[in-house]
Amino acid sequence: MIEFKNISKTYKVAVREGGMKNAMKSLFTRNYKTIHALDDVSFQIGEGEMVGYIGPNGAGKSTTIKIMCGILTPDSGQCVIDGRIPYKERIAHVQQIGVVFGQRSQLWWDVPVIDSFELIKDIYRIDDKTYRRNLNDLTDLLAMGDLLKTPTRNLSLGQRMRCEIVASLLHDPKILFLDEPTIGLDAVSKISIRKFIKQVNEDRKTTVVLTTHDMQDIEALTERVILIGKGKILLDGKYNELRKRASNDKTLDIEYSGTIPELHEGMKLIKAQEAQMTISLNPDIMSVSEAISYLASHTTLMDVSVSDISAEQMVAELYKEYRI
């Protein structure tokens, strides 16, 4: 469905040192810096797949999405999506895709949401039947009937994002690109958006490519993740494998009273507060049950909870490992 072959893209950015003197100087001569946004990137995504595309800020995620949407032209390499080269046949290509940029809005600011939807219907030449069906299905799924009559500017961010996603699905796209769809949303909105995306992927067999910084999005949605850093693909595989690879350390949160326990080999202190501790445990050296009985023999344990390393920690570790 999506094939990305040896794609590179560089940007030229004007740079100058701060300060008045340098500002004056830059009026006459400018220094440019070349940024390698993408450096020989290749991957393939199959039909109906849901892929998480992760990486720190500036890694090249948005550039990749924009090339796949036909907005940017790569310097070298080839991208073929559904038999077309997006940036060469932009208009035919975009008819088949839906896009949500979490940081921008595609709805017209001053008019009720339904008017924006109607315009999208005309732009994509959606026939009445398909439009009605999609609109009903999608708005039911998100329980947002009342929102349609409200002008976009009066919507909360969570409400707006739901409308944005519906807007990008009205024309039955084969592929849905979501660029940080949960950015800035509260927990409830995030959960409802995730549920919705999952449902769309399952019911409509829409291929979904998702970029995010929220690892819970990845955990809830995608089996496959692609990790990009400094313009290069670092990892491409199943989320669970990635997780194992990162670390299988356990995290122990304990509450205690009395003496401060000494740590055994294989334990590492992450955080200590009064009568509370967070310890990272390497289960190869000491099993969880051993660790608990060890701690219990050294202090009075009030409470213990054991968890796997959090997704955020895992990604932070991966970033560190690859120095990105």
């Binding site: 940007y11 036909g70 940017l72 017209w108 008017d115 109607e118």
Partner: protein, 267 residues
């Protein structure tokens, strides 16, 4: 075609959403026009013979200029297009299955047209109600009226296609404010927005009359106040058509080149 009509509808609804703006526009047009006429009246009374238009021609020129003010303005509030380039919402414009030139052109045209329709009728009615000699006079025959309307339409198309060139230049020059100031000054002056072109000194007028700016408000206004008549009207309209086609083709080509190296601002 349907999608372009819809853009217009959306714009129109948008304009209606803000009634105070419409009211303000009408008042401004009327008062400004009236003041301009009073100024010219003073000038005509002191030395009427040096002007190449009669006072009643002048009155019609000023009123019809106010009626079509927005339609003939190169730099108008096309907020969406400016922010599209400056802040990167162009990313959304480009994931639509429409050509960007046509999309922006119709957006820009719809902005002006919607505002004009809401504005021009009240100003025109007011200009008909004021007492002589300040009243607007419609002295055109049916045939002339048709050519006048055609000329208004062409002037409008020249204005929008020129504005398109300005938008495309913003791909290269990010600071839009400077461009807007320069273009406003240049186009308003050279299209006869400050002083009618017939009042220009001969040598400057000879050049100014060949530029695309002369195909903007200058032509329909001159036709309306009877300064261009007969065969010259056909010539004037052909001149406008020439500039519209030329600017349109340049704009389309420039847009195609720019889009190949577009960079989306703001990630």
């Amino acid at each position: 075609m349907k999608k372009y009509i819809f853009i217009f509808r959306l714009r129109f609804m948008n304009s209606l959403q803000y009634r105070t703006v419409v009211l303000g526009g009408v008042l401004k047009g009327f008062i400004w026009g009236f003041m301009e006429i009073l100024m010219y009246k003073a000038l005509y009374e002191s030395s009427g013979s040096v002007f190449s238009m009669s006072f009643s021609q002048m009155v019609s020129y000023v009123w019809i200029q106010q009626v079509f003010m927005v339609l003939f303005r190169v730099v108008f509030a096309d907020g969406e297009i400016y922010s599209s380039i400056a802040e990167g919402t162009i990313a959304y414009d480009l994931v639509r299955p429409v050509g960007l030139y046509g999309w922006w052109f119709s957006q820009s045209a719809a902005n002006r047209l919607a505002f004009t329709i809401l504005n021009c009728i009240p100003v025109f009615l007011l200009a008909l109600l004021v007492p002589e000699p300040y009243r607007i006079s419609w002295n055109l025959t049916v045939g002339q009226s048709i050519i006048f309307i055609l000329s208004v339409l062409l002037a409008f198309l020249v204005v929008v296609s020129f504005a398109m060139l300005m938008y495309i230049s913003l791909f290269y020059i990010i600071a839009q404010r400077g461009v807007r100031i320069i273009v406003t000054a240049l186009t308003t002056f050279l299209s006869g927005g400050v002083v009618p072109l017939p009042f220009f000194p001969d040598k400057i007028r000879a050049i100014a009359q060949l530029l695309p700016f002369a195909a903007m408000q200058n032509t329909p206004l001159q036709i309306f106040c009877g300064n261009i008549t007969g065969v010259n009207m056909i010539k004037a309209v052909a001149f406008q058509a020439f500039w519209f086609v030329t600017l349109f083709l340049i704009g389309k080509a420039a847009m195609a080149v720019s889009l190949k190296k577009v960079i989306v601002q703001g990630g």
